[in-house]
């Protein structure tokens, strides 16, 4: 069974390889290559999970080229890493299958294979962001991920999305250079690139009390860089344009997966590089908490104020990411669990929402404002149902996936003194705001039209695949919501490994 340890590496390399060979194919074939890749690699990730579940440590590190530190660079897998790899693969798979019809409309015939190339690159980058165990690999793949996702954005015909892409690129450039500086600082202080070594050195340094400022600055730079990329509160302004104008498949992947990849890397940085102890002592967690809460509120308020369905969904991702940062900011294991589960719930829900929104706007010829979209759910039933499911999940109605993280957040909120009140209040208020904009939209799309514009009735026989995909997504959402214990216990086990074993 040892060879399973190669799987993480293989997935990365394989997807890089596929991205190259996609160039050789027409779009259809390229798509199937991508499917193939995704299926294979998800099987691998799954087997890695299984392996770690039943191996005694539940963790292994894999040194590429068998050089030792400080020269070699390595990837490692506990339980969380392969789990999120699997999650991302599934989400990407579903987004593509659900979104390719629309893709063929949005992207020029000749450019479509590039789209799949970029998807494969993104996939490779995400895999390595999940598995990486040294800051060098981390940096490289952050950049690859950024480039690929920018390209995903640019692929659409609409010039608006070009502008959005420009914005996104600039933001993420700033982000990545901040991360780079942070990494460099870390390196210069510790002289190491591998997580475990950096960790030990930092612990030692912190104990002696030397270099605390450089360390704090490095941590701050890395966190703020990744925060910009993942769209934390003050830096979330690029989100609506980006997600709102891209093709649904792309927005689904970007909002559901890419931002989550950065966040997962951030978690790695905090818990495996800096160490929770120092993270809490540095007081950065409070900043994250505050920004997270602000993000929840501000994102929702902006979502209420917009009248464009995809923009609304995009702003809501800003709010949802706020939840995650709030969880990180609380800094306890329970909060971390909640944050991880929030990642799961959001990645499962958001792509569904984007796809559904796309499907709805198809019925009115691509219009996206609420007045035109009224009663569109009657013209495109699957999208209507999917949107309903997604909206309810985001609001946090029990039996949907979105409910569980809210539950966990509020459980983890107790016992933090005044923070308890802040978190509980924030949860309640943001729920209300979610209700306002999501369910308002829900009622709208099901109530009769007020403006008369040409509408085409999209019968689900015409969009079989899409229908199947959204139904599958909804079912997955429900199952996760109804029976969350397996995932939770996996996370609990995984978090122990994640924090303690190096």
């Amino acid at each position: 069974m040892e060879f399973i340890k190669n799987f993480p590496f293989i997935t990365i390399v394989l997807s890089l390889f596929c991205s190259v060979i996609c160039y050789a194919f027409k779009d259809k074939k390229a798509r199937f290559v991508t499917y193939f890749l995704l299926i294979i690699s998800s099987c691998m990730s799954f087997s890695v999970i299984m392996y770690n579940l039943f191996s005694e440590t539940g963790y292994f590190a894999y040194r590429m080229g068998h050089y030792d530190a400080p020269i070699g660079n390595e990837i490692s897998a506990g339980l969380l890493e392969p789990f999120f790899a699997l999650l991302f693969e599934i989400v990407i798979f579903l987004s593509i299958t659900g979104g390719y019809k629309r893709l063929q409309k949005d992207v020029e015939e000749s450019k479509q294979r590039f789209f799949y190339i970029m998807i494969n690159l993104t996939h490779a980058a995400l895999m390595s962001l999940c598995y990486t165990n040294d800051i060098y690999t981390a940096y490289v793949f952050i950049e690859i991920c950024t480039i690929a996702s920018c390209a995903l954005l640019m692929s659409s015909k609409r010039t608006r999305s070009l502008v959005a892409a420009t914005r996104y690129t600039i933001f993420s450039l700033i982000g990545s250079s901040l991360v780079l500086i942070g990494i460099v600082l870390l390196y210069s202080v510790t002289g190491h690139l591998l997580f475990p070594n950096i960790f030990e050195t930092i612990q030692a340094l912190w104990a002696t009390g030397e270099y605390t400022n450089p360390l704090t600055i490095a941590l701050g730079l890395i966190i703020s860089g990744l925060a910009i990329k993942s769209g934390m509160f003050p830096f979330h302004w690029w989100m609506p344009d980006t997600y709102g104008t891209a093709t649904p498949c792309a927005s689904g992947i970007l909002s559901g997966v890419v931002s989550k990849g950065y966040i997962f890397l951030l978690l790695k940085m905090i818990y495996r590089v800096i160490g929770p102890q120092i993270f809490l002592e540095s007081g950065i967690n409070n900043i994250l908490l505050v920004f997270g809460v602000c993000g929840m509120i501000v994102g929702s308020v902006s979502a209420i104020r917009t009248s464009n369905i995809t923009f609304m969904t995009a702003y809501s991702s800003a709010a949802q990411i706020g939840y995650i940062y709030m969880g990180i900011g609380l800094g306890t294991k329970e909060a971390l669990l909640a944050a991880l589960f929030q990642i799961v719930a959001h990645s499962l829900t958001k792509p569904m929402l984007f796809l559904a929104a796309g499907g709805l706007s198809d019925t009115v010829g691509g219009k996206q404002d609420f007045d035109s979209l009224r009663s569109s759910a009657h013209y495109n039933k699957p999208s209507g149902i999917a949107f309903a499911a997604g909206a309810l999940s985001m609001v946090g109605i029990p039996i949907f996936a979105g409910f569980v993280p809210k539950m966990l957040f509020s459980i983890s909120a107790f016992g933090h003194g005044f923070k308890t009140y802040i978190v509980l209040l924030a949860l309640a208020i943001s729920t209300i705001l979610n209700v306002i904009y999501f369910l308002r939209t829900l009622v709208n799309i099901y109530s009769p039209a007020i403006v008369d514009i040409p509408r085409e009735k999209i019968h689900f026989s015409k969009i079989k695949v899409f229908t199947v995909v959204v139904i599958v997504m909804a079912i997955v959402n429900l199952t996760v919501g109804l029976h969350s214990q397996p995932i939770i216990s996996l996370f609990e086990k995984g978090i122990e490994i994640f924090i303690n074993i190096r």
Binding site: Y421, V435, Q485
Partner: protein
């Protein structure tokens, strides 16, 4: 019969309702037959489970190891479920005739039947999480009923209802989680909350939860949705906004106070007085506003607000007597108010008149309807021997028994509101029967309501009188099933 049967009254109507949506009915008769049979089946299931199912808990599924979706039909649940189970089919009969002139029945009846199941879920929830779940479900299943008219007005009403209700639940959620974390999630009379490390937090969250669940029972600052929602077709307003939904809110308050937090923890705390003050204020506020309403159904809606706070007030007395009184008024008010709404609805249906001043002399044309309405008015005002009087009696006696000054204030509020009730409920009746001689009235086209509408009203009237005359029996039953 073992507790597994409890699934039936909840999921049977939900499934039947869902099926209903897809059956292509040839004509209204078929659909009505289907609806009434499914409702009666479900009610039978409820009664059966009320009498035959042992008082054991049944866990349907585990969200996580601690959080379970589990049912159990204890005394309180029995009262509430049986009440709804009785009134639901009656309303259905009324609805058949009323809804003739409305559109897309399919959807309406689908959700109408499904809401029954969710209400049962609230009644039969064993732990607070389950109750919360069905509470949300109830909101979702009833939104389409409110939005039924599908105009902008209905749309807005539905949105308001939704935001208030789910928002309130969001605030209650904090309290819910607190209870679960402190192992008081499961309902038990007297509560399971033994010791908490942070009492302030506990009380603050109780207050949140009370106000949050109080949204459905229209406690003062959060009552706005109820009058707005009275744009819904009358069967809905009658059933949901006089019985199922609002009473679910009241029921949730009772669960929260007596079964989760426990009165000995709350009694005498600041939260106790605050919530009581809120209910007292709402009692008066509701009546005063009802007095100022010209729109017939809105007036009834505001009166509902005030009466719901009678229940709230009785609940906040936090004594066994208070609990009995609360349930007493919960039952009696349901019967009275649903009847009153029926009457208002049949006026609206047969004469298209929705404002009180337009009712001048209409009693001549619709003697039965307004005869019934007068009875409901008297009962709601609390004129003996109608049942409304006795619930007031119980609340008042319970209040005096606590010898808590605020409670005495509450009784005074009760009586003030009773006076106002007399004014706003009797004036339509007086108008209808004794038109001013020089008033210009055009009643030619108006006809008396059809028996399909009158019979439900008649049943309610009978209930009012019988419950009043033999009030001993229901009260004894309530006390007995509550185990007091």
């Amino acid at each position: 019969m073992n507790e597994l049967f409890l699934i039936t009254p909840i999921f049977l109507p939900i499934i039947l309702g869902a099926i209903l949506f897809f059956i292509p009915f040839k004509n209204q008769k078929q659909r009505n037959a289907y609806v009434i049979t499914s409702l009666i089946l479900s009610s039978v299931a409820v009664w059966l489970s009320a009498f035959l199912v042992p008082d054991n808990s049944l866990t349907i599924l585990h969200f996580t190891n601690e959080l379970t979706l589990s049912l159990r039909l204890d005394g309180a649940g029995k009262i509430f479920s049986c009440l709804s189970a009785t009134l639901w089919p009656i309303t259905a009969i009324y609805a058949f005739d009323y809804m003739k002139h409305e559109e897309h029945h399919q959807m309406f009846y689908c959700f109408f039947v499904m809401a029954f199941g969710t209400t049962m879920g609230i009644a039969m929830a064993e732990n607070i999480l389950t109750m919360y779940l069905f509470y949300e479900m109830l909101t979702l299943t009833t939104i389409p009923l409110v939005a039924h008219g599908m105009t902008m007005k209905h749309n807005r009403a539905a949105r308001k209802y939704m935001i208030y209700s789910i928002g309130g639940a969001a605030f209650a959620f904090a309290g819910v989680v607190f209870l679960i974390v402190n192992g008081a999630g499961t309902f038990r009379l007297g509560g399971n909350l033994v010791t908490v490390d942070n009492e302030t937090l506990a009380l603050v969250l109780y207050f949140f939860a009370f106000m949050g669940f109080g949204v459905k029972s229209a406690i003062f600052p959060l009552h706005g949705w109820l009058p707005t929602a009275s744009v819904a077709p009358t069967p809905v307003t009658a059933l949901l906004h006089a019985v199922a939904v609002v009473k679910a809110g009241a029921f949730a308050l009772i669960r929260l106070t007596y079964y989760a937090y426990g009165t000995e923890f709350l009694y005498g705390s600041w939260a106790h007085y605050v919530v009581m003050a809120f209910s007292i204020f709402t009692i008066v506020y509701g009546s005063v506003t009802a007095l100022r309403q010209k729109h017939f159904k809105r007036r009834l809606a505001y009166s509902t607000i005030s009466n719901l706070s009678y229940i709230g007030f009785a609940t906040t007395l936090m004594t066994p007597a208070g609990l009995v009184a609360a349930f007493c008024h919960l039952v009696f008010h349901s019967v009275i108010k649903i009847g009153a709404f029926f009457a208002a609805g049949s006026v609206l249906h047969n004469s298209e008149r929705e404002f009180v001043p337009q009712l001048e002399g209409i009693g001549k044309k619709m003697p039965w309807t307004f005869g019934f309405f007068t009875v409901f008015a008297l009962a709601l005002t609390g004129i003996p021997p109608f049942c409304g009087f006795f619930s007031k009696w119980y609340i008042a006696t319970a209040a005096f028994a606590t010898d808590n000054p605020l409670a005495t204030v509450g009784v005074i509020a009760l009586l003030i509101s009773a006076l106002l009730t007399a004014i706003y409920m009797l004036s339509p009746a007086v108008k209808a029967f004794f038109p001013r001689e020089n008033a210009e009235i055009h009643l030619d086209e108006i006809k008396e309501a059809k028996p399909a509408m009158l019979i439900p009203m008649g049943i309610c009237v009978l209930l009012c009188i019988v419950l009043g005359l033999f009030v001993r029996i229901p009260v004894e039953i309530i006390g007995e099933v509550l185990g007091i």
